[in-house]
């Protein structure tokens, strides 16, 4: 009856209900607290993780639906050293309170994986995560820097 969950390269056997939200399974069962709770209804994106490389808002993903998927959280994203996106986030001093930034970085990373040089409009259409501190101008600048850097995002 357990659910097999593959997170950041590790396989976990979990005794949880299939309709438990992935967000809370990550946070409360696996102690991966970098993924944040913001709204619970997919509206803010603070809980964004990668499921098979695609950005998904984990608060609204039943854990049973991703049992065989490859899940990456913010802890797994830069496990082998900071990514270009994370480095750009530091270079542009993006975060303020930082609470939404795991989700922002996950959402932006998934976008750049398929579209390495999005226009500002494409970026704005794709990244609908909410930041209450107002870091959007720096997010835009950081993404531009990654997109135009030699070799693009890695």
């Amino acid at each position: 009856m357990g659910i097999r969950l593959k997170v950041n390269g590790l396989i976990h056997e979990l005794d949880v209900e299939p309709d438990a939200p992935l967000l809370w399974v990550l946070r409360d069962e696996l102690n991966l607290t970098g993924t944040k709770f913001g709204c619970g209804i997919s509206a803010c994106g603070a809980c964004t993780v990668h499921v098979n490389g695609k950005a998904m808002r984990s608060c609204s993903v039943p854990v049973g639906s991703v049992a065989n998927a490859k899940i990456t959280t913010i802890e797994g994203l830069g496990a082998g050293g900071l990514t270009a996106v994370q480095e750009a986030w530091i270079a542009h001093q993006v975060p303020q309170c930082g609470y939404c930034q795991s989700g922002m970085i996950m959402a932006v990373s998934a976008l750049l994986a398929t579209n390495p040089a999005p226009t500002d409009d494409r970026l704005a259409a794709a990244i609908t995560n909410i930041c209450r501190c107002g870091t959007y101008p720096r997010i835009r600048a950081a993404v531009r820097a990654v997109a135009t850097s030699e070799g693009g995002p890695r």
Partner: protein, 741 residues
């Protein structure tokens, strides 16, 4: 006593943070003071540690809520110390594990007279002694708000502490070489004997330096020799915020912890009448249903189980007699009070309202709605009430020490039985200030219902939004008497308030006769400070009305303002800088226009120029906001810009969409879709220009938002002829055929 006297007086006689609170309305200060549970409660201005290995640690008496104050404050201390920045660290005092069981933590949170020299072996004790120590005794609270960190803690604490420590290190070197102190200079964390070139690391002098008493009046550096202050140094906290390792209050986890989800009476003040636990008590993981006075909490082994159980409960609450209140009934009471003509002005200059008897009188009424803070981290707290009657609480708040006292009071136990762990906050904006601590109340009460079990209570976004302490709904009426040239000779302003009258209704403009005053309209809706506090509404009101007067006089709004600011060079320069950088007066494509507004609050002058476009379909587009700010000197210019940028976006969300409405006595909005905020797509191009002056350091966090709404509505008027006097903007039709105001 006026505001400025408070600032100066506090700085020399009342201790660092009491000065910050002195800037707030007297009523709020009194409420804050009540939170101090007993007279022994003390706050030490700041600490600086110098370790053997040269690492200098600046202990910050503020919470990390994202403003970058840990870095700015460390810059201020380290600059006076001539420290090697690569060896400087900052940490939050209560979270300092090396202090956890020492007398130092005790001193920080209890009473610094408990401090003994032995409890801090290699340590230079900053401002322990001398004037600041005496001053610290006045301090009841440890508050992060009011943009106080840099301009109060920094200016009156960190700089002096850093300079005092430097002097002690020099004395130690002088004693070691039997040379006069004047023969030494300091650089990069070394004391250098100038004649011989011999030098000592700070770390090797620290123990000897600790034997000296710090001077309460150390010699401070002249601004021209600053090396760290004024530089855009990267923030300490950012690396942990890009890799998911930053820990916030909501990340607290204790062995055997239960999770709580709450449902509070929808109508403020309503009481729990009944609830049937049977519906959920056999659910997997549910441990207990706790009935509180006005709420019900489900405790479970996991949060999602607690949440789905609380959602399944159907508690009955009464409405406390407020079931018929709506936003409209509150507005009607505002308008009736303003019309009554019985408002006594709090401030009068010249002949006050008598000026309205002559000349042309222009009158307009404005309104702003209730607003939620909606920080990204929903409010939460973890609490453990132990079998021995002690209480331990973990939470992100804007005042660790006050929180501890509040928890003690809530639990009805002595302060010394409470430990409070202050954790970083995922945004605050005022939501985590004293008197807004319902999340602590519910957490402590729930924990006391399950002694021995640690539990983490998390508000869902819906509960956070519906049980906030809102930026008040305020209505304001202006009347101006104009001379033949259209310049104001009389300025009369009556406005409603949920709290005490406040001074932010004062105007920057030179008008000979003025009268302004407040009428208190009490409602059952809880209100509290929201980023920029009173300036968030008075800024919109005043800067809208002055713009209306400029248009009435058929004069350019910038030029009209400048004509009324002739005796204020900093304001003129800031306003003109924003105007110049925005291209004020240069042509724009059809449908586009600019609007300008300037507000001074928390010691900083901020002017914004908004460039908007209103196409025929009426869908407003904000293209650009050009900002100029004078905060004296920006300790960390990049950090200052970040705060103003963020403040602009915070103000933009409020101006465009922000509205909490009341129906049947309860809040209508529940989550971000119906409490809309700005996303990346609506974020305009933003430029922030710093105007440097020799004024005392001003705030960074609070002053950005207030001029946003009026700059926008003034631009919308310029583009369309529609004058928006009630926020938010989204409630108004702007397209072709819209009603001009």
């Amino acid at each position: 006593m006026n505001r400025r006297m408070f600032l100066i007086g506090g700085a020399t006689a009342a201790g660092a943070l009491i000065v910050g609170y002195g800037l707030w309305p007297s009523g709020r200060m009194a409420r804050a003071n009540r939170l101090a549970a007993k007279s022994g409660e003390r706050f030490v201005a700041n600490w600086i540690k110098v370790a053997n290995d040269d690492i200098i640690t600046v202990v910050i008496p503020h919470c990390d809520m994202g403003t970058g104050s840990f870095t700015s404050l460390a810059q201020m201390a380290a600059d006076e110390l001539d420290a090697d920045w690569t060896k400087v660290r900052a940490e939050a005092a209560p979270a300092d594990r090396s202090f956890a069981n020492s007398a130092l933590a005790e001193a920080f949170l209890l009473d610094e007279t408990n401090m003994t020299r032995d409890s801090i072996p290699i340590f230079v004790r900053g401002t322990m002694e001398g004037t600041l120590r005496t001053l610290a005794g006045y301090m009841d609270l440890q508050t992060s708000g009011g943009s106080t960190a840099v301009r109060v803690t920094g200016v009156y604490g960190m700089r002096i502490a850093g300079a005092a420590v430097r002097e002690m290190l020099v004395k130690a070197a002088a004693a070691r070489m039997s040379a006069p102190a004047e023969a030494f200079r300091t650089e990069m964390s070394r004391v250098i004997h100038v004649p011989s070139g011999e030098s000592f690391r700070y770390g090797e002098l620290a123990a000897a330096a600790a034997e000296y008493s710090p001077s309460s009046h150390p010699k401070l550096k002249p601004k021209s020799t600053y090396k760290l202050v004024g530089n855009p140094i990267p923030r300490f906290d950012i690396p942990a915020k890009v890799n998911g390792t930053a820990q916030y209050g909501i990340d607290t986890k204790l062995p055997g912890m239960w999770y709580g989800a709450i449902k509070i009476s929808p109508v403020f003040g309503g009481k729990l009448v009944s609830v049937s636990e049977a519906a959920v008590e056999h659910n997997r993981g549910v441990k207990k249903v706790v009935r509180l006075d006005d709420a019900v909490v489900v405790l479970a082994d996991r949060f999602w189980r607690a949440r789905s159980a609380v959602d399944a409960l159907e508690p009955i609450f009464d409405n406390g007699g407020n079931g018929n209140v709506t936003s409209q009934t509150i507005r009607d009471r505002h308008l009736a009070a303003l019309k009554s003509g019985k408002i006594k002005p709090d401030h009068v200059t010249g002949i006050g309202a008598d000026a309205l008897k002559n000349d042309t009188v222009v009158e307009h009424v404005y309104n702003v709605p209730y607003l939620a803070h909606a920080p990204m981290e929903p409010v939460n707290a973890t609490a453990l009430y132990k079998q021995d009657g002690t209480l331990e609480v973990w939470a992100g708040t804007q005042d660790g020490l006050g929180s501890r006292a509040f928890c003690a009071k809530t639990a009805g136990i002595d302060l010394d039985k409470v430990t409070f762990h202050l954790l970083p906050s995922g945004g605050a904006f005022g939501r985590r200030l004293p008197d807004l601590w319902n999340f602590l109340t519910y957490a402590v009460k729930t924990a006391m219902a399950v002694p021995g079990v640690p539990m983490k209570l998390i508000f869902t976004r819906e509960q956070d939004m519906q049980h906030d302490f809102y930026r008040p709904n305020v209505t304001s009426r202006f009347q101006a008497a104009l001379d033949k040239a259209g310049m104001p000779m009389g300025w009369v302003n009556d406005y409603t308030t949920d709290d005490e009258a406040n001074d932010e209704a004062h105007i920057l403009y030179s008008v000979p006769n003025q009268a302004y005053g407040a009428v208190k309209i009490a409602t059952h809706v809880p209100t509290g400070p929201w980023r920029s506090v009173e300036s968030s509404w008075h800024g919109f009101f005043i800067e809208s009305f002055i713009d209306e007067l400029a248009h009435q006089a058929k004069r350019d709004p910038l030029e009209y303002r400048c004509a009324l600011l002739k005796d204020k060079p900093r304001h003129l320069a800031t306003l003109n800088l924003a105007a110049e950088k925005s291209g004020w007066g240069t042509p724009l494509p059809a449908g586009r226009a600019r609007g300008i507004a300037m507000v001074e609050c928390f010691g900083t002058i901020v002017a914004h120029v908004a460039e908007v476009e209103v196409p025929d379909d009426g869908v407003l587009k904000v293209h650009r906001i050009t900002s100029a700010a004078d905060c004296g000197m920006a300790v960390n210019p990049d950090g200052f810009r970040a705060q103003i940028e963020g403040g602009i976006i915070f103000g933009l969300s409020a101006a465009l969409y922000g509205e909490i409405t009341i129906d049947h006595g309860a809040v209508v909005q529940q989550n971000f879709p119906d409490y809309q905020v700005v996303h990346l797509a609506e974020c305009p191009a933003i430029e922030v220009h710093i105007h440097e002056s020799n004024a005392p350091l001003g705030g960074a966090g609070e002053p950005g938002p207030p001029p946003v709404a009026p700059a926008l509505t003034n631009a919308i008027f310029a583009a369309t002829g529609v004058r928006i006097r009630e926020l938010p903007i989204m409630n108004h039709a702007l397209g072709k055929g819209a009603q001009p105001g």
